[in-house]
Symmetry: C2
Subunit: 689 residues, 2 copies
């Protein structure tokens, strides 16, 4: 039984109202000395008056409220002018109970996973993936289309909707990439580069593993088996005991003993010596900064490390396997198990060594226990957004988190929409969304939105090179219908076909720039529909906010009502090489694949270790459907070279390397931090947008 009204005597706070009070209950804060008889009277009065209204609202999905945009001012002024809803209000609107929310400041909050239990009988909403055609190096605006779409669905079509976005890395923020996306999410006054600290938690966890690896190698190199055993299983008040995490290692070694004293000398050796091969350590340290000088380094050069130097490197934090795990885990328990399965290297006898072998996986779970909760924010029009995870789209799968999508699908209700986004072009982000993320989550999408721009289509149609920093050639500024048509018939058509391979309807969203002509826009929409898109519409969200995406919202709503027939591209039980070949041929348009000897050896090794049943996460350039960045359109007649094959066992995928992937960006001569500043009096930030 829940109450509809309550008098709080003596300063109790609404945030901690026990669950026996309904969300939206009438609350009166009173002084402790207020006579309780009078307080009662007020409660009853309020109860009578609001009870019926509250009952209507309970457990039904309410419509999310909307903030109006003033479009006649500049972007930065729009951002500064908007006053976001307090996160508690936003949370109440989306149907969260106060105890399911952990506020981080006034404008963002983590959402507890217990919500999934409470709403497990609630049907999911519609699930929309935003993917793109092969982009120019400038990007084609998938994130802004995502935001525009949810704003249009919520604010203009009155359909509850949620966007699920990736957390941006700090590295590019201070380097070269504009964080325009953030402009759409949150008023700049409240912006905090650390968000709720998830990437920092990943960095801490990742680097704890790295420190544990090197320290362990040093201790093994400088101690006898007996000394190691005495330290690893110390006598405390005369009693030696294995810790739970050590039992897990014993189990993997096939040692079924609980008394440390009963181990044979051979068993002691195999227990205490991970015997990591320094040349086969695959774990890198990470930092969330564009620090190119850390790409390749030598560590252990102080005298205290006794000559145990080795070459290694740092990746950008979002390239950590722990980030991929955060994005794929579907519960705290699942995350814990994945964190324990991560393979950090190989022993001299060829056995994989895990974080659990290092004894560190429990601590990793503790470090990541809050990061697993998605962060609730809002768009400038007050539409709810989950920002959660942001794995690399080449060596990882480049999608926001399974858990954010799952929570959002429950919150929007059956008729609502969850719009989630995949990195890079559809050949990469969407393929991984279907084959990796949907396999992990069990979720099935209803619609794919394929983002295209006239600029990228002209490039695919044979336009000159587009590069960051250089002025755009005139082909991209003047009308050029033939380039547009050629781009549509090559790359756009192919990307639509890829989505259809998975049985999902496609809506093409043309992200309109001010240089685009009406004839160009009409041409794209016409050809796209001719190539099998359910619909194709121009989007003007950049100029008009959600209002500019109403047509897209209508098209998506219509496509979502059609039956879809989702299927995976490959059976997970196929041999690794066949899975790679299937992606190369069906998605990229390759004739075949060519495995290097190293790649073949690795595949044999992974099969032998029982990793053959994992899905494939291709590490390929995003600038072409092929492995050659300068081959635009829809290349054919090529063989895809697989240079090497690696594995993220905790995240749960095999990743073949097609070419060289940089996992650590650098800073340019004039990084954007030159313009970033804070006025200490007003608190106003400049230069971030």
């Amino acid at each position: 039984m829940q109450s509809d009204a309550v008098v709080l005597l003596g300063g109790g706070n609404i945030d901690i109202l026990p669950t026996c009070f309904r969300p939206g209950a009438a609350v009166i804060h009173c002084e402790p000395t207020l006579e309780s008889g009078i307080a009662e009277l007020i409660v009853i009065t309020v109860k009578i008056m609001v009870c019926c209204k509250i009952m209507e609202k309970m457990y039904s999905i309410q419509h999310f409220s909307v903030l109006k945009l003033n479009l006649y001012i500049s972007d930065i002024e729009i951002s500064r002018a908007q006053i976001p809803k307090p996160v508690n209000q936003l949370a109440e609107e989306v149907g969260l109970l106060p105890e399911e929310l952990e506020a981080y400041g006034r404008s963002k909050a983590k959402v507890c996973l217990s919500l999934l239990d409470r709403l497990h009988t609630q049907p999911d909403g519609k699930y929309v993936l935003v993917a793109g055609i092969t982009p120019t190096p400038l990007g084609e605006g998938k994130s802004t289309v995502t935001i525009g779409l949810v704003q249009a669905l919520s604010a203009h079509l009155s359909l509850n909707s949620f966007a699920c976005l990736r957390q941006p890395s700090q590295g590019p923020t201070f380097g070269v990439k504009g964080q325009h996306l953030i402009l759409f999410i949150l008023s700049e006054r409240l912006f905090n580069l650390h968000l709720t600290g998830d990437i920092h938690a990943i960095t801490a966890a990742n680097n704890l593993v790295a420190a544990a690896i090197d320290a362990r190698m040093l201790h093994e190199a400088t101690q006898s088996d007996k000394a190691l055993f005495n330290r690893l299983v110390p006598s405390v008040n005369g009693v030696r005991k294995f810790s739970p995490i050590q039992f897990s290692r014993l189990q993997r070694l096939g040692i079924d003993k609980t008394n440390p004293a009963s181990l044979t000398p051979e068993e002691v050796t195999s227990f205490v010596r991970l015997d990591l091969d320094p040349s086969k350590i695959t774990w890198q340290r990470v930092v969330d900064t564009n620090d190119r000088f850390l790409r390749k380094i030598t560590v252990g050069q102080a005298n205290t490390e006794k000559g145990q130097i080795r070459e290694t490197g740092f990746d950008i934090a979002v390239a950590s396997e722990i980030m991929a795990i955060l994005a794929l885990a579907d519960s705290l328990e699942d995350m814990k198990n994945r964190l324990a399965r991560m393979v950090v290297g190989t022993s001299r006898s060829g056995q994989p060594v895990t974080t659990e072998d290092l004894g560190v996986s429990g601590a990793l779970t503790v470090l990541m226990k809050d990061a697993i909760k998605p962060t609730l924010m809002q768009t400038l029009e007050g539409t709810p957004v989950f920002v959660h995870a942001g794995p690399f789209a080449n060596i990882a799968h480049g999608n926001s988190s399974v858990l954010a999508d799952k929570l959002a699908l429950k919150l929007v209700g059956r008729d609502g929409f969850v719009v989630t986004e995949a990195g890079f072009g559809a050949d990469i982000g969407m393929e991984k969304f279907f084959n990796i993320k949907c396999r992990a989550s069990g979720l099935r999408p209803n619609v794919v939105v394929l983002v295209a721009t006239i600029r990228a289509l002209k490039m695919h149609g044979g336009g000159p090179n587009v590069s960051a920093g250089a002025p755009l050639p005139k082909e991209y500024i003047d009308e050029n219908l033939s380039l547009v048509a050629a781009g549509c018939h090559s790359n756009l058509k192919k990307q639509i076909q890829i989505a259809h391979l998975f049985g999902i309807p496609v809506v093409v969203a043309l992200n309109v720039f001010k240089t685009d002509t009406q004839a160009e826009i009409d041409l794209v929409c016409e050809i796209a529909k001719g190539c099998g898109a359910s619909d194709a519409v121009p989007c003007n969200h950049w100029a008009q906010g959600g209002r500019g995406s109403i047509k897209l919202a209508q098209a998506v709503n219509e496509a979502a009502s059609r039956p879809s027939n989702f299927q995976f591209l490959y059976n997970i039980e196929m041999p690794i090489a066949d899975k790679i070949r299937t992606i190369a041929q069906k998605v990229y348009g390759a004739d075949d694949i060519e495995l290097s000897p190293a790649a073949k050896d690795k595949i044999d090794y992974y099969n032998q270790q029982g990793y053959g049943l994992l899905p494939i996460c291709m590490a390929k350039t995003h600038l072409s459907l092929s492995h050659m960045p300068d081959k635009k359109g829809a290349p054919t007649g090529f063989v895809l070279p697989i240079r090497d094959v690696r594995a993220s066992i905790g995240a749960g995928f095999i990743y073949p390397l097609v070419g060289t992937m940089s996992t650590m960006p650098g800073l340019p001569t004039r990084p954007c931090f030159y313009d970033i500043d804070l006025d200490p009096v007003t608190g106003e930030i400049t230069g971030l947008f």
Copy 2:
């Protein structure tokens, strides 16, 4: 004019009540459709009834409420059994307005600095520093004495009190040091190793500077002056402009021009070339992990860095100068100015190069803008605590933040107490508290609490060596009055005298262990009083919580009512060497100092650069009053060798190196992470305490 009651129509939230509503105002949440006439009626009714009570409460200091401890269960059970007050309730109790609070989850919140403006006319409370005698390597419990004292003051003497503590580093948490302190602060269920992310913010800011240094050296090495200038001051739509941060550099170079085109070739050269000498870069990267293999490394070994390799290293994050700045800044503006002044190295012509020269200081301020707000938490008995900053106590000053102390002094009111803590023994932490922190803050302490243990006193009296991990020799377990007396007459007496040098009364707090005998306890108290302590009392907070520290609280309250006569140890205008000598002779008991040639050169250089007016931050072992860790008691007849002298210009101190300081701990063979785990079903954490 502020209102005493308010009706919120349509889900408004109390957290964002504008300031026109008083704290404690009656609040009624009503449905939007509730007739406004009736709502008005309720407001008026409530207003009449509670108005007088509210008026009583306004702007007066209320007594903080107390949580009762059940002392008949184990430590970990106590921690798990306590249900902390919701942070909003805690904040209301200590007199914060809702808009001054930024909650981070349910049990901790950042407090806005605007509080200082609102309460600037409120008199400060009493200011108590907890310092210690020279400790054993096991530590003597300053932090727990601090917590016990505030619990006794608040919960048992009904005197409002606040503890100000340092944020613990993650490194030792996973290494060797138990985080027993945390047990006193917060129930373990709610514990989060990242707290509110301040150390992560410091890490991000510190490493952005490092990346900027190396990238800049690379760009300068590979580009002409003209190319550098074109990139640093790019033409945007045909217009070249300096950014504000570049004007600061021009000013330092003495170039009084605003038009980039008007610079002479020589001026362009001096503007674009920081010309950092790779061998004179003093800035290190940091990581909040005990990662010994990063102590000395070579960076830049990837081909992309074109052979620009150099040796450098990582420190533990809390050793960053940015941490020292966070602890010493007294406003956002002060922090910003300090962040811009940091010197990262020297040019080939011997000029200091700052973060502002690198163009990065505005971005640092943005990264640190939330870290500057202290984090409000509570002890297990519900007493408020600020956790904020935690600089190293050797290469930095080892005290919690100026801002936390200032905020707390306003919040407790004139009769209340703020208890803050200094790292290491009084010869280090207290000396730096007075000469560095009090100089920066302008605050004047009323009482010093000097923490001693029978164990440490016996060591100073001639007892055998005490080391971590080894069992304690029997001298420390059995009664031994002569060792105790000798320890009191040497180290304890000297540390009391040091406090008196600054004119502050001393209360000795004997942190009682279960092996201490009554005769030993009585002896310490007697000798301490004979040596000039205002009082000396045994503390049993470990066994009894705040109740065990009542005598200490009474003694501190009594001492605080006496007049104190605070004075600095040295005049800031004395030459650097004289300031060092004064500390060495008066505090450590040295005959003199001996400066190495390197130290002399550095002092000359700092004088020449105008850094001669900074206070001194000695980097000395904490295990002896002298520079020799094995010399216990109160050594005399030694000359203090100064190996080198360095400077933290942003933090604002010169730090002479007495011996070698490790700024990066390592992991032992069996780090404590082996025992750390999280139950994914209950969420319970094990192994952290």
